[in-house]
Amino acid sequence: MSILGTRVVRTEDPRLLTAGGTYTDDLRLPELAGAGRITFVRSPMAHARITGIDTSAARKAPGVIAVLTASDLDDVPSAGDNPTAEPLLAAGRVRYVGEAVAIVVTEDSYQGEDAAELVSVDYEPLPAVVTIGDALAGSTLLFDGTGSNLAAAGGDPAPDDAFSGCDVVIERRIVNQRLAPVPLEVRAAAARWADGRLTLWVSTQNAQLARGALAGSLGLPEAAIRVIAPDVGGGFGAKIAAERDSIAVAWAAKRLSRPLRWVETRNENLMGMVHGRAQQHIIKIGGTRDGRIRAYHLDLVQDCGAYPRFGPFLATLTKLMASGVYDIGYAGATFRAVVTTTTPVSAYRGAGRPEATAAIERAVDLFAAEIGMDPVEVRRRNVVPPDAFPYTTQSGAVYDSGDYAAALDKVLAAAGYAGLRAEQARRRERGDPAQLGIGVSCYVEITAGDAPLGETSRLVVDATGAATVYTGSSAHGQGHQTAFAMLVSDELGIPMDRITVIHGDTDAVPKGVGTYASRSLQLGGSAVHQAAVEVKDKARDLAAGMIEASEADLEFDVSRGAWQVRGDPETALTLAAIAERAGPDGLVADVDFRPDSPTFPFGAHVAVVEVDTETGKATLIRHVTVDDAGKVLNPVLAEGQRHGGIAQGVAQALLEEMLYDADGNPLTATLADYSAITATELPSFELIGMETPTTVNPLGVKGIGEAGTIGAAPAVQSAVIDAVAHLGVRHIDMPATPVRVWTAIRECYSEPTSEPGPSDPGERSVQMAPAGPSRVSE
């Protein structure tokens, strides 16, 4: 029986449970003996000119080895004529609170904090550009010579007649708020320069990409760099490659010719690690009263934070996925990406797709409310039908496989949708202060969006019969060691405990891409699978010679991991024996798996919330999901990814938001202020299985890492609004905090004061009079 698809517990865990992992700051290597500790001096200003830095007092402080500033950056390549280039240390100007200005190197970390306080930086304040509106207004520019704060723009506006023929058109501004990724392990790095070679240990999702970033920033050939990712305590997209602070650590180690280590504080992390989301949307949806959506347009603005980095790309991903699961006559998107004097924004679990899904799911709900139809029914009437795959969207995405209506039906059946609506009606009838809300979302997302970049795998079976997998993919909690060993074991019959998986070291795995975009199994896993097939084939060729039989007469007995003449176990040659014959390297296969296309997982979520209408507090009481990511390799791991994803989606819907004041000071830069979701704010989840394979890769798998987040946030947001919809509430932005919900309810009890204007965040019905909020008589 195949091990694939079975519930295999993780081989990673005993070490993590009994000894703890070895995360970057846990390294106690001889190469790092006597390493100096780095403490960054960070900008307390959102936007300012640096007019002077006095390091003299800091240099005299106990334990100080060196203090470095931008003036020491004379040995790195210049940024050329790129006006938005990001320096390793702020040079003359700071653009967000938390931007690195100087490096203090001390014997120990307590001394570092003391000495960093003594670095005196003179700032001449400049106006902060905190909001998207500020950025678009352009009265203050972040970068000289750019003419505007626009980093990118694209997409075509809706054709003039796109919305003609619609009975109803609704347009509304919504916010997809800025979030902090909050991996439990903050950023950390250690670096050593010796014998003309740099070694950087760094908490990263992509050792090989980090090496590329270092090479570019420091002007070193890649061969002179080794990057090692030790255990990584979560990433969620925020640890892709290496960002400036980690590169600065490497630079400082080279500059001082001394091993150095750095681990940030959580306060630094919430200001200095990238943020996610941070989009503002104008959604416009139109259709007929029979529930058919005719047209949809998303106009989005991406807040990139202080440097463009990944921000423009996020906007293009949102644009690509704008139409979601729906087959709509016209669907399109336009985007602008702007810079603001805030922490840079980059990939965070979902990276552009949660925003697309939240926008269209909100639009569909608004449309359903306007025409008075059950939102589930509207979805059923508009999803891409199962016989339409592969389905090419108007933005050019090719959805490989799916059955969106089936996912919706399954999740509704599991949730007991009709019963929930009946319970909701009873509570409404009796005016219960605890109102029930039911939110439904349908989603499709793109995983391995950069599929043609592929992923590498090297498989070695040695003369003892043990296997070693070298993968370019890189785990930080996903369970690659277990999953990839399962693939090898299934193909070659090698026991799990005789398979070693190695990743995250550029000397051991020189070529690779790493982990993001839910790409690990479909690319890295397929590469491992293919390597196992190739090893098996090579072994057959060798076995044929050893047995003196025709290859065609041989069969592989996977239970013994041996080739033999068909029906004759006496002739069996184990892989170990064949590997011995193969030579000192054993049986080896090198694979770079590069499929042509990404895959498109999909699903449907039902969230059930209780809203206390007296306080506005929303509590998620059930969350039921169908997440179809094709074939499931290991349900334990796939469910774990869904659980974690759901939690982060719920967190966005109900709790989490990075906030700034008008001067650009972060207000939520500690975990006492940023409300990272806890166990008490979540129920146990109800997961329903569904597997629609893809043909894009031999395993039939799609990505599952981000799906939960993408589906959960809109379902929960919708449920909160649904709970108070009968009071007249049509929309509440995320996070639906008690004060927001309470305010939304309160506003329904007061007369509308004026017609919403174009700059008003409120909804407006373009072709029909706005329906006044219905009143509840007490």
Partner: protein, 165 residues
């Protein structure tokens, strides 16, 4: 100042700064790195240890306060022959960890919780672990693991009780 802390049964003595936090003592002086640091506001619980048998966040304890006391970290939870503690076993069986960073603190918080309340409900477990953040698991399997460990511990106690009779 000179302190002596018994860590996982072994005395660790050192001269430390008055301000040194216990978590830094464990990591930098005792060399035990399973105890992690995830925040600076006593919010995340990654540094949870047992101090005289009770779970505390070691980022909020001065080493001086632990002078003469007993500390158990994740490294000291398994039995001397390497057999994992029932809570550790349950975390593995129920996939209660992913990246593993919150795990040592989470497991010790759970051990302490079950000592105080051997038969918790799901809500008891959720409330009991509120001070420990996990970003990977959505807590789903952590809660299941703690409930499973409670069941296992209860079953063992019953077996021991029956044997005694």
């Amino acid at each position: 100042m000179k302190v002596t802390v018994t860590v996982n049964g072994a005395e660790v003595a050192a001269e430390v700064e008055d301000r040194m936090l216990l978590v830094h003592y464990l990591r930098e002086v005792a060399g035990l790195t399973a105890t992690n640091i995830g925040c600076d506001t006593t919010s995340c619980g990654a540094c949870t240890i047992l101090l005289d048998g009770e779970s505390v966040k070691s980022c909020t304890v001065l080493t001086a306060q632990a002078d003469g006391h007993q500390v158990v970290t994740a490294e000291g939870l398994a039995s001397p022959d390497g057999e994992m503690h029932p809570v550790q076993r349950a975390f593995r069986a129920e996939h209660g960890l992913q990246c593993g960073f919150c795990t040592p603190g989470m497991v010790l918080a759970a051990v302490s919780l079950l000592r105080e309340n051997p038969h918790p409900t799901e809500q008891d477990v959720r409330s009991g672990l509120e001070g420990n953040l996990c970003r990977c698991t959505g807590y789903h399997n952590i809660v299941r693991a703690v409930l499973a460990a409670a069941g296992e511990t209860a079953a063992q106690q019953t077996a021991v009780g029956e044997a005694a009779q």
